[in-house]
Symmetry: C2
Subunit: 297 residues, 2 copies
């Protein structure tokens, strides 16, 4: 007997191209280019946008203008604008720039945390207590991302227990929107389904998001299995930007237009106009000197 | 509640690169090159190979040497070698060349059949009675492929009833291995699951095969949902060859190495060595002047 599949009527696409796409491109865009992209993104119908990150400008020069961008952009009613923040200073910068939402991220991989931050995932998430306090005081919303949730270049497999540690840390801070991120593009569909089911059954109150990279071509397959597990919110980046800048053609984030196309083919509404999403992808690809995937040309 | 997924322990990959891959490439390979590819394919562990087609040499010059190739190749024990045939003459050529298996194909799309053959799918499959008779007399095995089973460039959607007509026509001829082919790369995962479940429930005695092109990036997602429907046999082509020769970079058949990689990641054994499959893909890509996908370089 075959299983009863779950095809929801709707799913939500969060555009992360302005952050996770552009931060990995060699070309640094001007604020004017970013504003044009933002206009195109909202015009296509996207209602959740990650506009940039409040990281150190030397570490991520592509995002150095996020404060200025947030001040310059027109904030439309009904659209959620958020930015990635690494710490309290980032949350404060987001607040000062007028953002109502910020996303914190912690790697589930202990090896990754130790190598990059000389800390453990649990300590890192506990350290965000000051962010949660600040956000609560200022009426900001925080979301949490668990990076390397499906695998890590440093340690390979990431045990589910390590993912749960970070999830529970975020929950203790009162954060109720959590993203499981396949930072290194290592997820496979079976794993996505199993982790998704486990997390949703354990924490049904959480708004679960999944974030895939198409490094090994499995991003759409992963999204299909995430849908079956009950996930309804996915990140995507216009034109699939975010590949390694030193390997032209290397795939980055799953392309927003690919996700929208597949969802619509399956009868799942995203509220986004596919043709406009492709136009946005064309604009973004042009800005960073890439060409659009053949199928969309 | 989430569904109980079905992850089989094993799945079979049929290498169709020598036929559906090469027939769409501008470069015509020599017999020596094809023999080298065949050696690489069997060395990687593939046990089902579509070596070519017995079509008119003017229509498909890339396949004009299939007779000679079949005579020149070493046939290994335990490996199934088959060719695509369009009619009785093709079956006879396959027999004369020493093949024990031939594959007939009929388009499920009425518009496609009318445009290309001035016939209907039902009449076409009935017309294969002479092939079935010849094969039975000579002890050959026939399989059937239903092309455009998931969509057609001429008529768009293909009603399930049109697919069933062809399936039942093949069954009447005593053919028990049937492939549902996404000739135009139009299938989406939900459709694959629903058609797969319907066909398997109705005809559980058939050895069902699915054949996907990655035209729109959904081939792996389609395979995951086909696995859930109960399909256990898939076609693939080394290096994903088979894209339109006039659009460099356009994707063709789903790449064998991508399928093997995903299956193994999900704990599904294929009996094929991934590294050797990648070597085969590199060899094939080199022969037709393409480069291997970034992820496998």
């Amino acid at each position: 007997m075959s299983a009863e599949m779950h095809w929801p009527q709707e799913a939500t696409l969060c555009e992360v191209g302005l952050r996770d796409g552009l931060q990995n491109e060699k070309t640094i865009l001007t604020i004017e280019q970013k504003l044009r992209l933002l206009d195109a993104v909202t015009a296509s119908g996207v209602r959740v946008i990650e506009v940039g990150s409040f990281t150190h400008p030397k570490a991520v020069p592509q995002m150095a203008d996020t404060d200025a961008l947030c001040r310059a952009m027109k904030k439309l009613d009904g659209v959620e604008y958020r930015a990635l923040v690494p710490n309290l200073k980032g949350v404060q910068r987001a607040y000062d720039a007028g953002l109502a939402k910020a996303k914190l991220t912690v790697s589930a991989s202990e090896a990754h945390c130790l190598a990059n931050f000389k800390s453990t995932p649990v300590k890192m998430v506990e350290g965000f207590a000051d962010c949660a306090e600040f956000a609560a005081k200022k009426g900001m919303t925080l979301s949490g991302a668990v990076s390397t949730a499906f695998g890590c270049p440093f340690q390979g497999k990431v045990p589910i227990g390590q993912v749960e540690n970070v999830v529970e840390g975020f929950l203790k801070l009162g954060i109720t929107e959590l993203s499981l991120s396949d930072t290194a593009g290592m997820a496979h569909p079976r794993q996505v389904y199993e982790l998704g089911v486990r997390m949703i059954e354990k924490h049904p109150q959480v708004r679960w998001v999944m974030h895939f990279h198409d490094t090994r071509g499995m991003a759409l397959a992963n999204i299909v299995m995430a849908l079956q597990a009950g996930v309804r919110v996915f990140d995507g980046a216009f034109a699939g930007l975010g590949g390694c800048p030193f390997a032209p053609g290397a795939t980055g984030n799953v392309a927003t237009e690919d996700v929208i196309h597949m969802l619509h083919e399956m009868g799942i509404n995203s509220g986004i106009d596919l043709l406009k999403a492709i136009e946005t992808a064309r604009l973004a690809a042009g800005f960073v000197g890439r060409t659009l995937a053949k199928k969309w040309q």
